[in-house]
């Protein structure tokens, strides 16, 4: 049975293996180069802090288009790979047997359906974990430079491209595709449904609605004025920033919501430019009179964030969610294959 599973899927493994080799060939040299460039920039800034580029390393290093393209596109592979495996390994895994009638060939050999399914699923899910693990390990190592540069790996843009979460998403996508393949028995339908549901789940529902709430965010309150960002620790994943009035109501537009005494201050500092656009111009010197007025009225700035030390907690929680959903999909697959007629 193991030989059979290997024989059936070896071409799929070979294709992804080649992609992995190409990915490594791209990431290993560029990763080393980026890291050395960054390290020597940090070293020279330590000796020469006066160099203007040292105040904004992330804005001065790796500016050529090719570097920028690489930094943005290479991690995309980790975002798309689970989907690709779900569509090309998961969806056809069982639906192809049904459409080609080979279910009736293999289920009438002397192997129970349960054993057949177990071995098939084990091969495909273990292969998914191994390949996703290799891809993600490469990408995580490679992202070391940009993580250090941005001093953040928690932002929703990169959280999903590093660590252990991508591996569990690969497993989830394949389990989902397999389940729909067993359900609809038509590869194209299974493919379409998997595509839609996975995109909705992994790219919309989780990052926008679920992930921010794994743990209660930390809230900081700052008086109106500059220096807001200083109160948010480095590497945190900032969820919200905004103004609140004395009653804790969130304020969208200062101009219309400000209390009457501050409206006056705003009008005094209002200027109209040549194009007729209205703005605020503060005459230099000691503080901003508008901020002062709003502070007096009880207004303040509020930010909520997830601190960086929660990074691995979040990775574990999200991995737990996707693995639980994978288990549900696998259980449903067993039910569909064992209980339904050929």
């Amino acid at each position: 049975m193991n030989w059979f599973a290997w024989r059936q899927h070896r071409k799929q493994f070979l294709v992804v293996g080649i992609i992995l080799a190409l990915y490594a060939a791209l990431l290993i040299p560029t990763g080393l180069h980026f890291w050395h460039t960054y390290q020597s920039a940090v070293a020279s800034c330590a000796q020469n802090p006066a160099n203007p580029s040292c105040t904004d390393l992330s804005g001065s290093l790796f500016q050529p288009t090719i570097d920028q393209a690489l930094l943005h596109l290479a991690p995309l592979a980790i975002l798309l790979l689970p989907l690709i495996l779900g569509l090309f390994w998961g969806a056809p895994l069982l639906s192809k047997e049904y459409t080609e009638g080979t279910d009736k060939l293999v289920w009438t050999q002397s192997v129970s359906r349960r054993k057949w399914l177990t071995i098939k699923l084990t091969w495909i899910l273990v292969a998914t974990a191994i390949f996703m693990g290799a891809f993600t390990a490469l990408a995580t190592w490679w992202a070391h430079t940009s993580n250090s540069l941005e001093m953040n790996r928690f932002d929703s843009g990169v959280f999903f491209e590093q660590g252990i979460v991508p591996v569990t998403y690969g497993i989830f996508a394949v389990a989902l595709g397999t389940m729909f393949g067993a359900w609809f028995r038509k590869t194209m339908i299974a493919l379409g449904v998997t595509l839609g549901l996975y995109i909705g789940f992994a790219f919309i529902t989780v990052p926008l609605m679920i992930r921010p709430h794994y743990m209660a965010p930390v809230a900081v309150t700052t008086p109106m004025g500059p220096g807001f960002s200083d109160n948010i620790p480095q590497g945190a994943w900032v969820l919200t920033r905004g103004m609140e009035d004395q009653n804790g109501r969130v304020i969208g537009d200062v101009f219309t919501s400000a209390p009457p005494q501050c409206q006056q201050v705003i009008q005094q500092n209002q200027v109209t430019d040549n194009n007729g656009r209205v703005g605020i111009k503060i005459k230099g010197g000691s503080g901003n009179p508008i901020d002062a007025c709003l502070n007096k009225a009880g207004w303040h700035l509020v930010a909520t964030y997830q601190p960086s030390y929660r990074y691995w907690d979040f990775q574990y929680i999200e991995s737990g969610i996707s693995l639980s959903l994978s288990a549900v999909a696998v259980a449903a697959t067993y039910w569909l294959v064992l209980k339904r007629d050929a």
Partner: protein, 293 residues
């Protein structure tokens, strides 16, 4: 004689449609049964139930003394050839042999290699590139290499040209002659079945119309030709299976139970098995039309 397959009131329902209903068959061990009936009569449904590929909605069945189930010990004794002869197109014949070895505890590799070599089928070619006849031979050899006690074949020759069909049936007849094998083969090609089978099962509209030994069936049926008349005038013990009338005469295919005498007014002929089977298939059709009204 031992019974290889026995079903009682076996039924399979898809939604509200009964693909097979109240099916009672009995297949003796060592027989070669022809399972015939028009398309959609429930032949594949019955075969799928017998090997446990699908679950019955009603009734029961015993196959080789066991209830059909997806279990290794049950499957090991049955060879099955599904309709359209599914094989893994990207696998070579050799791969299929390794697959058979990998998926069956009992699998006679030497036998299948010799058999396919004798048939000059290339073992290293992808089966997708073999002819239909060669694919059917590979599938039959795979089923036989399990050394089954029962072989279920679902329209194995339907897609083959006459020569390939002839070769396939010869192969089958040879395997049967080697002994110890019970065969149920469905088809709508009556002439082919007559060559290899000694037992017949007629299904029409999801119901069993006939299930018996061919010799006995031949003895029990008569073709009566006489002046046009009301068939109800025939005596008890005669069952009219099929009747056709012209302006002047009536032709009846009747089943004669016991020693009932046929009225002298009728000319008596011996029908052949094909005529009898067609009569039973037509009966199912009539029944169907009757219920539709």
């Amino acid at each position: 004689m031992e019974v290889a397959i026995q079903t009682k009131d076996l039924g399979k329902r898809y939604g509200s449609f009964w693909a097979l209903e109240n099916c009672d068959i009995s297949v003796p061990e060592g027989s070669v049964s022809a399972l015939v009936g028009p398309n959609g009569a429930g032949k594949s449904t019955l075969l799928n139930l017998l090997i446990g590929l699908s679950n019955a909605s009603a009734g029961e069945s015993q196959v080789l003394g066991r209830v059909p189930h997806q279990r290794e010990d049950f499957l090991a004794d049955i060879g099955y050839l599904a309709q359209e002869i599914p094989l893994y197109k990207s696998f070579s014949t050799h791969d299929h042999i390794t697959m058979g070895k990998s998926l069956n505890k009992r699998f006679d590799e030497e036998f299948i290699r010799k058999r396919l070599t004798d048939l000059s089928i290339p073992l290293d070619k992808r089966v997708g590139k073999l002819s239909g006849g060669q694919r059917a031979q590979v599938a039959l050899a795979l089923a036989l290499a399990k050394k089954p006690k029962l072989l279920l074949l679902d329209e194995p020759v339907a897609a083959l040209d006459p020569l390939a069909r002839h070769d396939f049936l010869s192969s089958l007849a040879q395997a049967v002659a080697d002994g110890g094998l019970t065969v149920v083969m469905s088809s709508h090609l009556l002439a082919d079945l007559e060559r290899v089978s000694d037992h017949v099962i007629v299904l029409a509209s999801g119901k069993t119309q006939l299930c018996d030994d061919i010799e006995r069936v031949l003895k029990q049926h008569k073709l009566l030709v006489g002046p046009r008349s009301n068939t109800k005038e025939l005596g008890d013990g005669l069952r009219v299976i099929h009747e056709t009338h012209t302006a002047k005469q009536s032709t009846l295919l009747v089943r004669v139970d016991g020693k009932t005498k046929v009225p002298a007014a009728w000319q008596k002929h011996e029908p052949n098995i094909e005529e009898i089977i067609l009569a039973y298939m037509g009966q199912g059709k009539d029944l169907n039309e009757g219920s539709a009204k």
